[in-house]
Assembly symmetry: C2
Homo-oligomer: 420 residues x 2
């Protein structure tokens, strides 16, 4: 009885630990279909590259941590059905596990590629790819998909000496409708001798070449759907601010749920580790009887592309227009520090709404300090700050850290000119 | 006639260029008592260290830039009196210069130390110190003052092999009433074999030792006071949001003016390059007939202390209490990135008001990403964000840049516990 959690990755384990923290008397069981518990999938590209020597380094917490919290974790436990009316799940093999409350945190799954394709969406896939890289001499690699996994994989393969081509079916990299950002990323990839083809689906690769399948991620909702859980237009599970689904005592969290975008107020599906951790915590708290709420995302993401930090948050100009804003954007190129402290180029894009003058989003590219600058934009977006306020922000300056006019402020002033 | 600016440093030149940009027909003259135009004083410690080879590298803009903008700059032009009723200033030597509008940007000056003391508050002082360091073998150096110049000087002198002792008359380093921050900075300095004495005034040093005077900065208001300009309780010039003084057609900007602290709403005197640039721009715009306003500071500052970034913004807990807030603070120690990307320790302090739950300020210490994290706090402070909103911020995560729970969010959650 007690709380049952399906999935022992970021969301499920955040839920389990937070529930136990709030109610130490609550029995908590976690069912995980694989052998890995608390595995940080975000590190797989760096495991493949070799920077992470062994996959055990990717475990966010050791198994003993969960044992110590009194959480029972069963690995290799595949749920085949949820009979929520009876408050039971069925495992492969027929065993039934009873519960009072259920948290569904089954994550996302990648559409399977061709039979011989490699994948980075599971530990098994990453181990298979790493063995291949270690066993053969560098050759030609083809990556199907220009999302963050595809771009991180390109960096890892280049680091191992492979020649790399990315084919992306869509028009924009990183799932962001932003020609400027895509253009800059293509230039960066090509500078590192990665070929990029946009709007092209990869059908087959020459014999002997390596094919990495890095697209087609979707929420893993099958069992929840069969149990009667409501699914949104994005294909992910609909939850309220408490991470409760339409069924009583059934919560969901992580890469299988929709969240609310703070700029548009609309449901979106953005599977990311940060959100999985946060929604998991909130689901666990509410399942344990404490009221907590998850108030949505700003759409912040960051990825390293052959040494360049690329980050975005909020809406791009094109997205903002489609959402009905009178969007305008400014892009500036600057340097990130004083010249005598290894100054490097940094580019900032800032998007605003002409009517309300609100900051709607932006993007940052550079080698240093990219996460800090995009986080300032994300904070301003969440606070519904207008461009004038943003341009007046009192940001830190000293020669080792930033120029006296931070590139963020230069971009904001540029944007103010367009708003006048 | 036209616009006259006193001072060719950050504020004065920002004012002059912005005024010309807005009204290209406006005659603009800048009077500067030294020979240096557009010198970035913030770089002087790095000039002394030797990282900046020649002082010319510290010029923010070449002289030709201002010539190209049609700004007349007169160096070695010392103003001895402002006769504002007649709209004239008198120069040393007797010459009078007429104007219609005046911007007073005379900066700050350091109280003179003992006759043989060195100083970093002027270019001449820095050049004299560098010569001494280059001509003699490393010995013992004593620094009077634990503000940011004193701490930067300590790093520069250690880098040149000197043994260093800092004596600071006050109880807190960096002018921030914060025992935690001071304690951490003392530990960092001592780890780099810099002796720190708090609450001790330096009276004399042994013969042959080097004495660096790094305290007693005050606004350079003498001429303005004689002309009838109103001075605030801080000792600096009182200005409104347009940087106008109490006298018509007389503006002031930079290190000689008071600004409004955004948390307390009260006037403060915080001489920093960022604020000098911003207030200069605003003064220039208003002098040229366009309405712009400067809305105050959050009290953000950053300094490198023997390799450690130390930044603060808003109010410390002790300052907040004195301002009447029911202040509470949380401090957390974390790491700044994934372990396989050179993770280093980072510490975050976050201060809030129990009644309103508003974020009032904070501080960040670390080797990497300190400016970005303090800027997020500064943005939240300016937006009057509450701690719950702050804890829900959608901050960027990928292994090369941050941990999945950013230290800022860990600190905010810690603070939430204290608020419940």
């Amino acid at each position: 009885m007690g709380l049952l959690v399906i999935g022992a990755s970021a969301a499920g384990l955040s839920a389990a630990t937070n529930a136990r923290r709030i109610d130490p008397s609550l029995p908590v069981t976690v069912l995980e279909k694989s052998e890995a518990v608390s595995l940080g999938l975000c590190g797989l590209p760096y495991f493949v590259e070799g920077r992470v020597p062994a996959w055990a380094h990717l475990l966010a917490k050791p198994r003993a941590y969960f044992d110590g919290m009194g959480i029972r974790i069963r690995t290799c436990a595949t749920v085949t059905a949820i009979q929520h009316a009876r408050r039971r799940v069925t495992l492969a093999g027929g065993e039934e596990v009873a519960y009072e409350k259920l948290i569904y945190a089954a994550g996302a799954i990648a559409a399977p590629g061709p039979a011989d394709a490699f994948s980075l969406s599971t530990l098994d896939g990453a181990m298979r790819l790493r063995r291949r890289l270690e066993e053969s001499r560098p050759g030609r690699a083809w990556i199907a998909g220009g999302g963050y996994i595809g771009l991180e994989a390109a960096e890892a393969l280049r680091a191992r000496g492979w020649s790399v081509a990315i084919h992306h079916a869509g028009s924009y990299l990183l799932d962001r409708e932003d020609p400027w950002l895509t253009g800059r990323l293509v230039a960066q990839l090509e500078r590192h001798r990665v070929t990029v083809r946009l709007g092209e689906r990869l059908e087959a690769v020459p014999a002997g070449d390596l094919l990495l399948w890095a697209g087609g991620l979707r929420p893993n909702c099958g069992l929840a759907v069969e149990a009667g859980v409501e699914i949104g237009r994005s294909g992910a599970i609909v939850v309220d601010e408490a991470m409760a689904t339409n069924l009583p005592s059934l919560f969901a969290a992580g890469d299988c749920v929709e969240t609310t975008h703070r700029v548009t107020g609309r449901p979106v599906w953005v599977p990311l580790g940060t959100t999985a951790n946060k929604t998991g915590r909130v689901a666990g708290a509410n399942a344990a009887g404490r009221r907590e709420r998850f108030t949505g995302i700003a759409g912040t993401s960051i990825v390293r592309v052959c040494g360049l930090g690329a980050a975005a948050t909020g809406l791009s100009e094109a997205q903002a227009r489609r959402e009905g804003f009178d969007a305008v954007s400014a892009v500036i190129d600057a340097t990130d520090r004083a010249p005598y402290f290894r100054a490097r180029p940094v580019s900032v894009q800032l998007v605003a709404d002409r009517r309300s003058r609100r900051v709607l989003g932006g993007a940052v590219l550079g080698e240093y300090g990219v996460e800090g600058r995009v986080n300032v934009i994300a904070t301003a977006v969440s606070a519904r700050m207008d461009v004038e306020e943003f341009a007046g922000l009192d940001l830190a300056y000293a020669p080792p850290f930033a120029p006296v006019w931070d590139p963020l402020l230069v971009a904001a002033r540029q944007l103010l000119k367009l708003l006048h």
